[in-house]
């Protein structure tokens, strides 16, 4: 659905996006994570044929970027960073205007469908300027969907919303998942990415890592088992001598053991500890949050080292 090769955008001497290689298959929810100024909006603008890349190429919804820009615009929907609604026009007129700019067969019916779906029908005749932030965001998402785009770009859909509105919008996005629709979600909200996305890309001008959230964490940190011991003898971590253990750390009365396959190797680990005279109180897996991963990557730390 989206494929880019060396996609680059410069503003004067500043490089906003540097050699992005990306493949997002149909039906995937892809999370594009990065801090402010990372180049997320610039990437969306390029992929939605709003601004031209300085270098590189891309295929979006089967169309060559730069060759079939109008066709791309017809096939993608964009939720821009700010909702961008005509304040003086009613919710319905806002949507009707956009529906008529796209090839939407029955604009009135389609607008009604989305207003009802997003629970805005009761307020359809009120000017968009009178809406709360959350409602405006819903209306803007509806606008991006009216022409049933193959790809939906969402640029920080919950930024600036209060927690309740953010939750509503997040739940709404979760319902938009479908086999036919690819969703490209820009965010710096990690929880959101973890919950909504099939795969995520960590991005800051360049792509730092791509993969399923769980796989990424594993790749970065390996899997780690934490063994809580009752008054362990000093130096017990040095006496383990197990071939499959890649790393052991001692944190007070806990051992943090890095090992490739905990499901198979934990029993042997526990047996060995008991042999060494340790009393095992309990064993659990160390869960790394996406936040740890993100912060480590953004700060250029290599967690495995």
């Amino acid at each position: 659905m989206i494929r880019t090769e060396g996609l680059t955008r410069r503003f004067g001497s500043r490089v906003a996006v540097d050699g992005l290689d990306l493949h997002v298959p149909r039906g995937e929810v892809f999370g594009f994570l990065g801090p402010n100024g990372a180049g997320k909006t610039t990437t969306i603008r390029m992929l939605a044929a709003l601004i031209a890349p300085s270098a590189g190429s891309a295929t979006v919804a089967g169309q060559r970027l730069g060759k079939a820009n109008r066709e791309i615009r017809r096939r993608v929907g964009v939720l821009t960073e700010t909702p961008g609604l005509y304040r003086r026009l009613s919710a319905r007129d806002n949507l009707l205007f956009f529906a008529r700019l796209y090839p939407v067969r029955e604009p009135e019916r389609q607008v009604e469908r989305y207003l009802r779906l997003f629970e805005l029908w009761d307020r359809k005749d009120e000017p968009a300027g009178s809406f709360s932030k959350g409602m405006r965001q819903k209306l803007a998402i509806a606008r991006a969907l009216l022409h049933e785009p193959e790809i939906l770009f969402l640029d920080e859909p919950t930024a600036g919303l209060d927690p309740e509105a953010a939750k509503t919008v997040r739940e709404l996005i979760a319902t938009l998942r479908s086999k036919e629709r690819t969703i490209f979600l820009c965010t710096h909200n990690l929880d959101e990415a973890d919950r909504l996305c099939d795969r995520i890309g960590l991005f800051r001008t360049r792509m730092l890592a791509v993969g399923e959230p769980a796989a990424l964490k594993e790749e970065m940190y390996g899997r780690r088992t934490v063994v809580h011991l009752a008054s362990p003898s000093p130096g017990i971590e040095l006496a383990l001598h197990l071939p499959f253990v890649t790393k052991v750390e001692r944190l007070e009365d806990r051992l943090v053991v890095t090992l490739p396959d905990p499901d198979a190797q934990n029993p042997a680990l526990v047996r060995r500890l008991v042999e060494l005279g340790a009393e095992v109180r309990f064993v659990n897996e160390l869960r790394v949050s996406l936040e740890d991963l993100y912060l480590d990557l953004m700060e250029g730390r290599d967690a495995k080292a």
């Binding site: 601004i51 964009v78 304040r87 700019l101 090839p103 606008r143």
Partner: protein
């Protein structure tokens, strides 16, 4: 061009709900009509037929100035408005073409400006008849009528062309507005001619100004369309 109609209707729907635009479009013509009729009434009281004709000619002049000023009120809002409401990016993300967007924005101000101008001309004649008693028909020459009906669309078009050209280049649309006020100048050419000849009698002169305006508008619109590029207005109209 179906999208052009959709955009025009949107622009007008928005304008009708915008007090600033409504005031700009209605107040100035009403003011001119009011002043003109008042002056004519005063002149009629003095009982100097030649003086009355001069006053009447001055009034007619307003209907060549109005079509250059009215569109600015609409055009500037339709650009500043998109910027302030951040609606430009969603709009540019649709399959609308640069040309459709340009023409939509331009015609959205030219069409009402011309109609309002003609309407206020009608209002002026009616008010003159009621207040002064009669319209001095001998002063309402063919060249005058040709100017008011033939030149005003061209004057409006030229004025909007300059506004669009400047605002797709300038980063501040309000500055563009000030600059575009210069677009009023061509409307003043007949005024200069009039003041040297007492009344507008020469149809050739009107045709000449029409020709000049057609060429000037074509040049300005051509340039404006050339610089009116999606990426430029997305990154500059702010």
């Amino acid at each position: 061009m179906r999208r052009l109609r959709v955009l025009l209707l949107k622009e007008w729907r928005e304008s009708l709900r915008n007090k600033m635009v409504l005031f700009g479009v209605t107040l100035l013509p009403l003011f001119f009509v009011g002043i003109s009729v008042y002056m004519l009434a005063l002149g009629a009281g003095i009982g100097d037929p030649a003086g009355a004709i001069v006053l009447f000619n001055t009034s007619l002049m307003y209907f060549l100035i109005l079509p250059t000023i009215i569109p600015l009120a609409i055009a500037v809002y339709s650009i500043v408005g998109e910027k302030e409401q951040t609606t430009l990016e969603p709009l540019l993300a649709t399959p609308i073409s640069d040309l459709e967007l340009f023409l939509g924005k331009a015609l959205a101000s030219v069409i009402p400006a011309v109609l309002v101008n003609w309407l206020s001309f009608g209002l002026f004649l009616a008010a003159t008849r009621i207040v002064v008693g009669a319209v001095p028909l001998q002063a309402l020459t063919v060249p005058w009528l040709a100017s008011i009906f033939g030149l005003s669309p061209l004057l409006a078009l030229f004025s909007v062309g300059v506004t669009m050209l400047v605002s797709s280049r300038a980063s501040d649309a309000r500055a563009a507005y000030q600059f575009s006020s210069f677009a009023i100048l061509p409307g003043l050419i007949p005024l200069i001619v009039y003041s040297s000849r007492q009344t507008l009698v020469d149809l050739r002169l009107v045709i000449l100004e029409g020709g000049v305006l057609i060429v000037a508008s074509a040049v300005v619109l051509h340039l404006a369309i050339r610089v009116f590029r999606r990426e430029q207005i997305l990154t500059r109209w702010k």
